[in-house]
Structure formats: structure tokens, C-alpha cells
């Protein structure tokens, strides 16, 4: 068959030709668009971060105060039955509010009590601006009709701040009920705690939830030290009972972050004495190999000149 014949046949069967052409087009497109490789992200080395004790202490201070305040959630109690919902539902409530906000004034008070904590702070001048910033969201709900205006103008915050004042009256109405309690709460709070928790953990505090998560995520010199030693701790073990081995070791450090004396092995636990002892040696080797730990904050030397540690193999498998 010549090319001419083929062309003629194709002409006769335009539908077929069109179909073939379209299929080829789709296949070609597929080849191009699906054959691209996903970009491989290069693995990054773990780098210990030197974190000053100032940050750490502030974080822990905030947390500690949070815990202490938890028993106080008298503020939440003011909101009464809703504290139960608080933990999970604050965001949900907001959504609900957005849908019905304008028509129903009552729901607002319900929400606001949660945030009223900020309100009471009025006596504390510092928190007032914070409230103003956070309220904008809800306030945006209130002036739904003005939404367009808000979009147009950057000074939205101003509008919001302006909106803020109108709200206070509502809380005031509630204050009529709770004034004494709120005042009592405010009095009990340490101003310092309010400042810290208000900035960072405000929503949690308002909900009355624990700040335990924040505590776990706080990076400390302990974390940096652990990750530094971990880089050198590679005990050669391939048994299935790795999680049963533990070595307790006391480490003494000099101010410059070097090991002051051979780390003392306090205890070795595990199903095999010989393996446990080899692991203890490996742990000691790791501590000595990875020194000096110069990143440890020198002004806090008293907290790390003596470090009791426990080495395990739990996560190795």
C-alpha cells in the first residue's frame, strides 16, 4: 500500500482518522505531563540549635503559670455549661457564629465570654490592644454588610478597633452578672503570667486547656545536648529485645562544655549482662567522643555541670 492509498483511505474514514489523531494527542499529552519526576528533597543534617536560657525560662514560666491557672478557670465557669465545649469547640462555634452572627446577638455573648478574659483585662491596659487585634475576626462577622468596605480599606484594623468599642458594652451587660467573679479572677492572676500567656497561648488559656503540648515542643539546652550525644551513640546491636536495655550514667561537665571526668555508669539493665556492659561502654564513648558541648549556656552552668542520663535503645528498631 502506498502512502497515497493510505491517505485516501483515511480521507474516506474521517472519523477514524480524527479518533486516531485525538488519541495520539491525549497520549502525547499524558507522556509529557505524567512523566515528570517529582523533585527529591535533599536530606538535611540535624543541626543542634543553641537556644538561650532566656527564651526557655520564659516559655516554662508561661507554662507553669498556665498550669497553675487551670484550676482557676473560674472565667470559664462564668461561661458555665460551655466550658466543656470549650476545649474542642471554640473554632466550631466561631463558624456557627459566622453563619448566624448578624441575626443572633445572643450567640455572641456566648462566644465572648470565652474571650471576655481579655475583656476583664481592661483594667490591665496592656491586654486591651490584644483583644482589639483578635476580635477583628468576629467583628468582621458583625458588620457583614460592611465587609466590602473592610476589604477596600487597609485600615481595617482601625475599623476593627473602632468596632471593638461597640462590643464592650455587651460584655458589660454580662459583667452585671459576673462582675464580682471576674474581678476576683483578675485579682488572683499574676500580671506577669497574663502578659506571657496572653501573647503566645492566649487561645489555649481562654479555653482552659493545658499547655502541656507547648511544654513538650519547647526546645531547650537539654534537647540540644541529647541530640549532640545521640550523633555519637551508635551501639552495635541487632537483637529484638533492644527496648529492654538501659544504662544510667552521670556526667560531669566543665564550664567550657568538656567532660570533667570519666562519666560514671550508675546502673545497667537488660536481659544480657555482657550486652548491657558493652552498651554502657558505648554510651560513655559517645559522651566523650562528642564533646565539647560548647553550646551549653554558660550563664546556666549550675544546671548542667552535672547531668544524670539514661541511655536506651527503644527507638532503634
Amino acid at each position: 500500500m502506498t502512502a497515497k492509498d493510505l491517505f485516501q483511505r483515511l480521507r474516506e474514514r474521517k472519523g477514524t482518522a480524527l479518533s486516531v489523531a485525538l488519541h495520539l494527542l491525549v497520549l502525547g499529552w499524558g507522556l509529557v505531563s505524567f512523566s515528570t519526576r517529582s523533585v527529591e528533597a535533599p536530606q538535611e543534617d540535624v543541626i543542634p540549635v543553641d537556644i538561650s536560657m532566656d527564651n526557655t525560662s520564659k516559655m516554662t514560666a508561661g507554662i507553669k503559670s498556665g498550669k497553675k491557672e487551670n484550676p482557676k478557670p473560674l472565667v470559664d465557669k462564668v461561661a458555665e455549661a460551655k466550658p466543656v465545649d470549650d476545649a474542642v469547640g471554640k473554632i466550631d462555634k466561631k463558624d456557627v457564629v459566622t453563619s448566624t452572627s448578624t441575626p443572633d446577638p445572643p450567640p455572641k455573648p456566648a462566644e465572648k465570654p470565652v474571650e471576655k478574659k481579655p475583656d476583664p483585662p481592661k483594667p490591665v491596659p496592656k491586654e486591651v490592644p490584644k483583644k482589639a487585634e483578635k476580635k477583628p475576626d468576629e467583628k468582621g462577622d458583625d458588620p457583614i454588610a460592611d465587609a466590602l468596605k473592610a476589604d477596600k480599606k487597609k485600615p481595617t484594623p482601625k475599623q476593627e478597633t473602632k468596632a471593638a468599642p461597640p462590643q464592650p458594652p455587651k460584655p458589660k451587660q454580662e459583667r452585671v452578672f459576673d462582675q464580682s467573679k471576674i474581678a476576683a479572677l483578675l485579682d488572683k492572676r499574676d500580671p506577669a503570667h497574663q502578659a506571657v500567656t496572653g501573647d503566645v497561648i492566649n487561645p489555649n488559656a481562654a479555653l482552659g486547656t493545658r499547655t502541656g503540648n507547648a511544654n513538650a515542643m519547647v526546645a531547650t539546652w537539654q534537647g540540644a545536648f541529647v541530640s549532640a550525644v545521640k550523633r555519637c551513640f551508635n551501639f552495635p546491636y541487632n537483637g529484638q529485645d533492644a527496648d529492654q536495655f538501659e544504662v544510667d550514667m552521670d556526667i560531669q561537665l566543665r564550664r567550657d562544655g568538656t567532660v570533667a571526668s570519666t562519666p560514671v555508669i550508675v546502673a545497667v539493665r537488660g536481659p544480657s549482662k555482657s550486652v548491657g556492659n558493652a552498651m554502657a561502654e558505648s554510651a560513655r564513648r559517645a559522651v566523650e567522643q562528642c564533646q565539647a558541648y560548647a553550646f551549653l549556656p554558660k550563664d546556666q552552668y549550675d544546671t548542667w555541670k552535672y547531668i544524670p542520663m539514661t541511655f536506651g535503645l527503644k527507638d532503634m528498631l
Binding site: 537539654q222 545536648f225 541529647v226 550525644v229 545521640k230 555519637c232 551513640f233 551508635n234 551501639f235 552495635p236 546491636y237 541487632n238 537483637g239 529484638q240 529485645d241 544510667d248 570519666t262 555508669i265 550508675v266 546502673a267 545497667v268 539493665r269 544480657s272 549482662k273 555482657s274 550486652v275 548491657g276 556492659n277 558493652a278 552498651m279 554502657a280 561502654e281 558505648s282 554510651a283 560513655r284 564513648r285 566523650e288 567522643q289 549550675d302 544546671t303 552535672y306 547531668i307 544524670p308 542520663m309 539514661t310 541511655f311 536506651g312 535503645l313 527503644k314 527507638d315 532503634m316 528498631l317
Partner: protein, 443 residues
């Protein structure tokens, strides 16, 4: 290390409790100790310096020994030997303490130095020393004198010493593997009984390949091998003496006998005997030649394997319909089924440590090698794919060898994998290889 107290968990808890109650911690944070768990396994960096030649003629032996040790430790997956090109210090005299700073600089945690010297009587003296780089502490050392022909064996023994000193467990390098060497086309495969070092060297063929041989197993003394051979008639269980080359049929039974394995004392062989369409387990005393029946079921009971203390036996049986693994007392009696996963379980073998039973698991078109505890719990698949079979434990119970047959025109090969499932390695063999069995430590 004798100063290190070894305490039980309970004793430690009591001690810790009283310390906390009485004195409290010296640290500012009384909540406890800083905990370190490695995120994942990392092999230990170790520097193995070239063994110094006692005389210019010993250079080859020194380099060879260094190479064998390096290969052993690397293949174990637990150590990461550092490339010699990175070495800053070149050891020329092992009697002088190494410059640890230069070894620390290349991140070595341990250092091996050694020397090989041909003595006046023609024998080879090999010395080695193991150092802790961080503390500069001398960890262990030894010297051996042997015929120069056995330099590989010395290298394996030194590897075991290093392994034991750093891991706290016995090594497995000074061992042998007995296996079935396979050669020729797939339809006319010649199978010979073969023996080699665990690293694939020093291969010896024990049979000529005229008869089909299967399932070789070492005796605890490593001097004898028991296996099954298809001769002129029914397949029979044979005993083969490695030193003398003598072989004999184990027992004189009417039907076929197969799946033999030594008892831990080396004085008895346990095996399956065919009885009609069934097979039952028997144990035969090699001295008195007396035979004891252990099972009597209308099923196929096979692949028996002793616990290391000789008190119990695991075996494969289809008494429940499909092949599964059972455990019973070594004297017979009721058997307890321990495998309950999907698919069928076969070729169980008890770890020399006693802590696990390895098996072949078949299901879903896959042949997997796995381990489980003797009570059936903790099942763990180590490798899976097309036709993995026949697990055997290293003498320290930390490594499992098996064979993998991809099918088609190619043939099977030997592999090892840690009981953790990590570090799968192919074992070099001259041709195709199957049915491996690991010997106990030779020394």
C-alpha cells in the same frame, strides 16, 4: 568492666525509689534523668589499620588478614569500617600507643592494630589490639601462632573477638556453611554437598553430584553432617564425617527417611519416617541405634528442630489441614500449634539462643522468611518475595541465612539477614546454592 554494677529492673527501681525519697537528685530538675534513645540504627565507625608485616615477606598475610576482618565486620552491618585512605596516622609499630587524636579526627570510635610475623619455625604469629579511641583505653588483644595456610581462620577468630568485645555477644565469623551447590541447566541440575567458610571462601565439595542430596545439617561438633540423599531406592538419611569422608545410612527403615537434624548433644538424630501416606517423627540414638517414635498422627509431621536445651521440639505438620508449626516436648506427647497467621508455615528452626523460631511462610504468592517466639507471639517477617526458603541461624542467633530462587533459568543463591530485618546480604558462592545450614562456632 567489673566495676559496673549489673542490677535487675526491680532492684534498680527499689534503689532509685529510695534514693529519690531520701536524698533526691543532685540536679536542679528533679523530674529524672535525661533520656537518650537513638532514632535509628547506625553502624559503629571503626578503623582497622593494616596489620604490620613483621618482615617484608609477611606483607601479603598482613593485608589479607586486615581485608578479612574488614569484610567480616562490614558484612555484619553493625560496624562501618573507615576507608584506609582517610587514615591520618599510619601504624608502623603496634607496641607504641596510637595517636588517638588523629583517629578521633576521622570519627573512629574503635581502632584495630595488628602485626603478622613469620617465625623462624615457619609458623605465622598474628597479634592484634583493639583500642577505644575516645578514652585511649586498651580494650582487648591476643596473639596466635598457626600454620600460614590458616591465616583466614585467624582473621575470623580476631573478627569474633572484636565483635564480642564491642557488642557483648559472641561472634559468628569463625564458622562454616554446609549447603547444596547447584550447577548445570535447570532441567538437569547437578546438586553437590558443599562446605565453605561463612564468608564464602574455602569451598569444598563433599559429594560428586551423581545422587541428589538435600537438607544437610551440622552436628554440634561440626565434624559430621547429616543429610538426605536420593540414591537408587528411597531417599535416605545419611551421616557424613567431614574429616574422614566416610558416610553411612542412619537406620534401616522400610520407607523413606528425610528432614534429619542433630539433637543439641550430638548423640541423636531426629527425622521424619514415611509410613504410607503419612510421615511421623522419630529420634534415633546414634550409639545404641535405638529408635523412638515421637508422633503418631494421620498427617505429615516433618522438619523437626530441637530447642537449644534439648527439652522441646518444633516441627511442621498438616494435621490441622494446612502445614503449620507445632511445639511439643522432646519426648513426644501433645503438641501445641504456634503459627496462626495467614498462609502456611514450614521449615521451622529453633534459634541457638532459644529466643526465636525461624520459618518459611507461604501465602499470597509470596515466600517469606520470618521469626516468632516459641510461644507463637511476636511474628516478624524478615524478607519476603518470590521463593525464599530454608532459614538457618548463625550460632549467636542474630543472623539468619536462607536461599532465594528467582525461578526461570537462573538458580538459587544464599542470603543473610539480621533478626531485626536489616542488612540483607548476598553470600558469595561459586555457583547456584540452596539449603544452607550454619555450623556452630569452630573455636
Amino acid at each position: 568492666m567489673s566495676k559496673v554494677p549489673f542490677v535487675t529492673r526491680r532492684r534498680f527501681m527499689i534503689a532509685t525509689g529510695s534514693a529519690v525519697a531520701g536524698l533526691g537528685f543532685r540536679s536542679a530538675w528533679a523530674q529524672g534523668r535525661l533520656k537518650i534513645d537513638p532514632d535509628n540504627f547506625q553502624p559503629m565507625p571503626i578503623a582497622i589499620s593494616n596489620f604490620v608485616a613483621g618482615s617484608p615477606a609477611d606483607g601479603d598475610a598482613g593485608a589479607g588478614i586486615t581485608g578479612v576482618i574488614t569484610n567480616n565486620l562490614k558484612r555484619s552491618g553493625l560496624f562501618a569500617p573507615i576507608d584506609q585512605a582517610a587514615f591520618i596516622e599510619h601504624i608502623t609499630n603496634i607496641d607504641v600507643s596510637p595517636q588517638f587524636a588523629s583517629w578521633k579526627q576521622i570519627n573512629a570510635q574503635a581502632l584495630v592494630t595488628g602485626r603478622a610475623t613469620r617465625q623462624g619455625d615457619g609458623r605465622l604469629k598474628v597479634e592484634f589490639r583493639l583500642w577505644d579511641v575516645g578514652s585511649g583505653q586498651y580494650l582487648t588483644g591476643q596473639q596466635y601462632v598457626t600454620s600460614p595456610d590458616y591465616w583466614r581462620r585467624i582473621a575470623h577468630i580476631i573478627s569474633d573477638q572484636i565483635y564480642e568485645r564491642l557488642t557483648g555477644e559472641k561472634g559468628y565469623f569463625d564458622t562454616r556453611i554446609v549447603f547444596i551447590d547447584e550447577s548445570g541447566a535447570a532441567e538437569r541440575r547437578v546438586k553437590r554437598l558443599a562446605l565453605m567458610d561463612q564468608d564464602g571462601y574455602n569451598v569444598r565439595y563433599l559429594t560428586k553430584g551423581s545422587d541428589l542430596v538435600l537438607t544437610p545439617r551440622f552436628s554440634p561438633s561440626t565434624q559430621e553432617i547429616t543429610y538426605m540423599e536420593f540414591g537408587q531406592g528411597d531417599p535416605r538419611v545419611y551421616l557424613y564425617n567431614i574429616e574422614t569422608g566416610q558416610r553411612e545410612i542412619v537406620g534401616n527403615f522400610p520407607g523413606m527417611s528425610f528432614a534429619p537434624r542433630f539433637a543439641p548433644d550430638g548423640q541423636r538424630i531426629i527425622m521424619s519416617l514415611q509410613q504410607g501416606g503419612n510421615a511421623n517423627l522419630f529420634v534415633m540414638d546414634l550409639r545404641s541405634k535405638s529408635t523412638t517414635r515421637l508422633t503418631d498422627t494421620p498427617a505429615i509431621d516433618t522438619a523437626p528442630s530441637y530447642a537449644p536445651d534439648g527439652s522441646r521440639i518444633c516441627f511442621e505438620s498438616d494435621r490441622g489441614g494446612k502445614p503449620q508449626i507445632y511445639v511439643m516436648a522432646a519426648t513426644g506427647g501433645p503438641a501445641q500449634r504456634i503459627s496462626f497467621g495467614d498462609g502456611t508455615y514450614s521449615t521451622p528452626v529453633w534459634s541457638p539462643r532459644g529466643d526465636y523460631i525461624a520459618f518459611t511462610k507461604q501465602g499470597g504468592g509470596q515466600f517469606a522468611i520470618g521469626i516468632m517466639k516459641p510461644d507463637g507471639s511476636g511474628e516478624r517477617i524478615l524478607t519476603s518475595g518470590w521463593h525464599n526458603e530454608g532459614p538457618t541461624f548463625a550460632p549467636n542467633g542474630r543472623v539468619v541465612m536462607f536461599f532465594r530462587d528467582p525461578g526461570g533459568n537462573s538458580g538459587p543463591s544464599l542470603f543473610t539477614v539480621d533478626v531485626s530485618g536489616r542488612n540483607e546480604q548476598r553470600v558469595p558462592t561459586p555457583g547456584y546454592a540452596s539449603d544452607p545450614a550454619w555450623s556452630p562456632l569452630l573455636s
